[in-house]
């Protein structure tokens, strides 16, 4: 495959680190609730507050979730060891974070993007989240703050950190990777994966090199990226910054940089972090995780169908646009679509309704009622507008689409009736008809509008157009 060109002779090299909060009921090492949005410091106990004498006990559900994700990413699930990452910060009650270091739970996997490109997964390890600090004062940062508040509700929430190999070479690939990973997390049900609420957080390691160059140049880690859009902007900004430096005969220094959404640029972060030595060592308060072969087999057997397979299935069945299909899989509406289509709903109508008209959920709608509705539409028994109205009712209360159509007076107007109306209109508006036949497209709207008016909007627009075209062809 020929290398992707980022700009002139430069190739972009990106590795992503995604932190996803695992959707367990309780925290990673204690029985406190893993819940977002509670009163500060209410989901806390001696363990997650790191009180003297307290000890961690690992949440088996979190480990199971992590291994499930690992297998979904084609990783090897290893005997793994928790390690302490030591550094002082008030959001960490113990002043060390329990993470994994040289022996992570998952390693050496891959993720296939919808466009066929494969991104290597280096590792996916388990660690605990920190608390949340709020700095009170004009700066909003710790330096210059009048005082700071810490909420430890998030301290000890289970995270999985998924690290890619530096194999992402375009901004689109980076975005597609995160979307696909989100889809997998959602399919497995192991994370809420809400980027805006911070339940997944993405850091990008960005560097640049000459086309054809094989070594990796100095990278910068970009943090504080809160949406796919800002991920793209941040990578673009950072890559161009590197190019600018190299072109000036300078080079970037390895550091952590923060994305400033408003300014549209990255800024140098804590510079002391360069020199930070985390003094990792095996966590002596926990025993190694050593899943049996049986456990791994069980995970594999229980693994649900993954988004890629689900997309392919729906694509084969419907032939719809890949972006529409991806959206339905993400909304978890793909099996509904499949069932609707196999119940006789026309693929076009079914996908159209699910994508455009049902973003907020399906309510009382069933595959059978949607299939019926789609069929009525396909047979031109009802108009688009009518179908949408019936759909609203089906979502709210359920019921039978033909009955709803009848009750609402939506019975389709007979083709011959529409033909008569069109012919009458041609006679009474001969000037407009001449212009239409001469190819003046905008007059078409006049005719359609008049018929709609005469039928209180119940005639099928497509049918009107069809008749108009037939009449003009005959002329």
């Amino acid at each position: 495959m020929s290398p992707e060109i980022f700009k002139e002779n430069w190739e972009l090299v990106v590795g992503l680190e995604v932190h996803a909060e695992l959707a367990t009921t309780t925290k990673l090492f204690c029985g406190c609730l893993n819940q977002f949005g509670n009163e500060p410091n209410t989901n806390v106990c001696p363990v997650c507050l790191g009180l003297p004498g307290s000890l961690p006990v690992v949440n088996e559900k979190a480990v199971y979730f992590a291994m499930q994700l690992g297998r979904a990413l084609n990783c090897t699930v290893n005997r793994s060891v928790f390690a302490r990452k030591n550094y002082f910060y008030p959001d960490m009650p113990k002043d060390f974070q329990i993470s994994q270091y040289d022996l992570p739970t998952n390693s050496d996997g891959r993720l296939d993007l919808p466009n066929g490109i494969t991104i290597g997964i280096e590792r996916a390890h388990i660690e605990e989240d920190t608390g949340k600090t709020t700095h009170i004062g004009t700066s909003g940062r710790i330096s210059g703050a009048d005082y700071s508040l810490v909420d430890y509700n998030r301290a000890g929430v289970p995270l999985i950190e998924i690290v890619t190999k530096p194999e992402i070479h375009t901004i689109d690939q980076a975005k597609a990777y995160v979307s696909e990973l989100r889809a997998i997390l959602l399919t497995l049900g192991v994370s809420d994966a809400k980027m805006e609420e911070g339940s997944i957080r993405v850091d990008a390691n960005v560097s640049i090199r000459d086309i054809g160059e094989t070594n990796l140049r100095t990278r910068c880690e970009i943090k504080n990226v809160n949406s796919l859009k800002s991920l793209g902007r941040a990578i673009d900004y950072e890559a161009n910054r590197h190019i600018g430096l190299y072109e000036n005969g300078e080079s970037p220094k390895q550091e952590t940089r923060h994305w400033d959404e408003n300014a549209g640029r990255t800024r140098s972060g804590r510079s002391k972090e360069d020199a930070e030595d985390y003094r990792y060592f095996p966590e002596p308060d926990l025993v190694p995780l050593n899943p049996s072969k049986e456990t791994i087999t069980k995970i594999d057997q229980e693994l649900p169908e993954l988004p890629a397979e689900r997309r392919k299935e729906l694509l084969d069945l419907s032939g719809a646009k890949p972006s529409d299909i991806a959206l339905l899989v993400e909304r978890n509406h793909d099996s509904f679509a499949t069932e609707t289509i196999t119940s006789g709903g026309s693929p076009n109508q079914v996908i159209k309704h699910l994508v455009n008209n049902l973003p907020d959920g399906l309510g009382q709608l069933t595959p059978q009622t949607l299939a019926q509705l789609a069929q009525m539409e396909e047979e031109a028994k009802i108009t688009n507008t009518q179908a949408k109205k019936i759909l609203e009712e089906l979502v709210e209360q359920g019921g039978n689409p033909s009955n709803i159509a009848a009750e609402s007076g939506f019975e389709a107007i007979d083709t011959s009736e529409v033909e008569n109306l069109v012919d009458e209109l041609i006679t009474s508006h001969s000037d407009e008809w001449e212009r239409f036949c001469a190819g003046e497209k905008k007059v078409q709207g006049f005719f359609v509008g008049q018929i709609m008016k005469a039928t209180s909007g119940q005639a099928d627009g497509k049918l009107i157009n069809q008749i108009l075209n037939e009449r003009s062809a005959k002329k």
């Binding site: 001696p46 009180l51 003297p52 004498g53 008030p90 009650p93 030595d277 003094r279 060592f281």
Partner: protein, 483 residues
């Protein structure tokens, strides 16, 4: 007065029996011990805090239970002193450090809970070397504890307060923690029995961590049998401690009174003169112990534990490394002492500078260094190799021997102030006890006579993991021979 040794000690088992039968109340028993404390505590300074009111309340509850005909538990009315690095709900737990500033835990350590459930009367919190770092209890922020046999001497450490409390008759039972010998060495120096259980045999939940992979909680008592009974109470699986062992060991008192006929005892030659620094007098006494066991029917042979030569070095890398991480949380943010500064970093530094004593700082620095990038393999990694090698050595020996024997401490109690200025001399005190911690095996120190200075000497019996019943069996024989 220069010493405070009572004429005789009452055994915990007899107290429990008398309280349970109603012969004497828990309250009366408690007052006897409180009187003893009243008389001599000002000289000994075994306690950081005597919890008189709480103890009286506990004793009254036991008495109420007994009067109602309930089962008051195997330690009914037995006063127990708790090392001040074990959490006691609502009662200051200081680790003898300024940095905790009388912090009151919101929970009881599992060991404390189990003792209360067994009917024990928690009588107070005993002094220790700050965060259990030391071998003399001189590193306490609240002043040293004195050896009840001679007030001018140290009681050993780090559980010096607990050892002294039992020796002085302040409590029939005390609880300590042993990371490198912190129960056995003071037991030896104070002439009482001290046990370090198998790692994972007793819950560490609620023990203020020093070196998590080495720390173990255990009892002090005036007899081997009492120690075994208390060990039984505090031991067992705890879901709150991930390193706790699920399988139940055979009852510790099972083999008591059975003699040691045909048991095989290995005498570790490296700890009988092979390594420098162990006094001739102590070795001579250990040889008498060997003879005593042999006379009692055991087959005793000299054995070699080659890795013993490297244990002290390995220990002083592993323990400080873990400590440097465990003690990070004392940062002035959430609890304990806070010394302000111009910013967060300064506040952290000021708090820790003022809050920690010299020995704690020394070990934090040693440990931080040993874990640093570029040094990890050479120091911490190498120490872990010694640990594995040592485990292999032990495993080989236990194929042929039921237990092993060595002195507990290389010398008898030394004078207060004698070794404080030379940390290395102080560290050598742990040379015989450290191997058991590095491999997580159980060991006991049993009093066995006195030295020329009139101070007690202890003998150590080491046993395979989860095999404390045979350890107690041999220790009991030694106890009988020594008296």
């Amino acid at each position: 007065m220069t010493s405070a040794i009572p004429d005789h000690y009452q055994s915990a088992s007899s107290i429990a029996a008398n309280v349970a039968s109603g012969e004497i109340s828990a309250a009366e028993t408690l007052e006897q011990y409180l009187n003893q404390i009243e008389d001599n505590e000002k000289d000994v300074h075994a306690f950081n805090l005597v919890t008189i009111d709480e103890a009286r309340a506990l004793a009254n509850e036991i008495d109420k239970l007994v009067s109602k005909g309930g089962n008051p538990g195997p330690l009914a009315g037995v006063p127990v002193a708790i090392k001040d690095n074990l959490c006691t709900r609502g009662i200051p737990t200081t680790a003898s450090s300024k940095i905790l500033q009388q912090w009151k835990p919101p929970y009881d350590a599992t060991v404390v809970r189990k003792l209360k459930e067994a009917g024990a009367t928690i009588i107070g919190k005993t002094n220790l070397d700050e965060f259990a770092m030391g071998s003399s209890t001189e590193n306490s922020a609240f002043g040293p504890t004195r050896n009840p046999h001679d007030f001018s001497c140290v009681p050993g450490g780090s559980s010096g307060g607990s050892a002294a409390a039992v020796a002085a008759g302040f409590a029939p039972i005390a609880i300590g923690s042993d990371t490198g010998g912190s129960i056995r060495q003071p037991a030896s120096l104070c002439g009482v029995v001290g046990v370090k259980p198998t790692y994972g045999g007793v819950s560490r939940y609620g023990l203020l961590a020093f070196a998590s992979s080495l720390d173990q909680v255990g009892p002090f008592a005036n007899s081997v049998k009492d120690a075994a009974i208390v060990h039984e109470v505090i031991g067992g699986f705890d879901p709150l401690d991930s390193t706790s062992i699920k399988e139940a060991p055979s009852p510790f008192t099972d083999l008591l009174g059975q003699g040691i006929n045909n048991l095989k005892v290995g005498v570790i030659k490296e700890l009988m003169g092979g390594i420098d620094g162990i006094s001739d007098e102590v070795i001579a006494r250990a040889n008498e112990a060997v003879t005593a066991l042999s006379n009692a029917g055991a087959q005793v042979e000299e054995v070699s534990l080659p890795a013993a030569l490297y244990c002290l070095s390995a220990y002083y890398l592993i323990a400080p490394a873990e400590a440097s991480s465990n003690l990070s949380r004392y940062d002035g943010v959430r609890y304990g002492l806070r010394v302000d500064g111009n910013n967060l970093n300064e506040m952290n530094i000021n708090t820790r500078t003022e809050g920690f004593g010299d020995e704690v700082k020394r070990r934090i620095m040693l440990g931080t260094y040993a874990l640093s990038a570029g040094y990890y393999d050479a120091y911490y990694g190498k120490a872990l190799k010694v640990r594995r090698l040592l485990a292999e050595n032990f495993a080989d020996l236990y194929k042929d021997y039921d237990v092993l024997l060595s002195p507990t401490s290389p010398c008898t109690a030394f004078k207060i102030g004698e070794k404080v200025s030379d940390p290395m001399t102080m560290y050598v005190n742990d040379v015989c006890t450290i191997p058991s911690n590095l491999v997580g095996h159980p060991a006991i120190s049993v009093p066995f006579g006195i030295g020329s200075d009139g101070m007690p000497i202890g003998i150590q019996i080491l046993a395979p993991p989860m095999n404390e019943s045979v350890m107690y069996q041999v220790a009991e024989t030694l106890e009988q021979a020594g008296t």
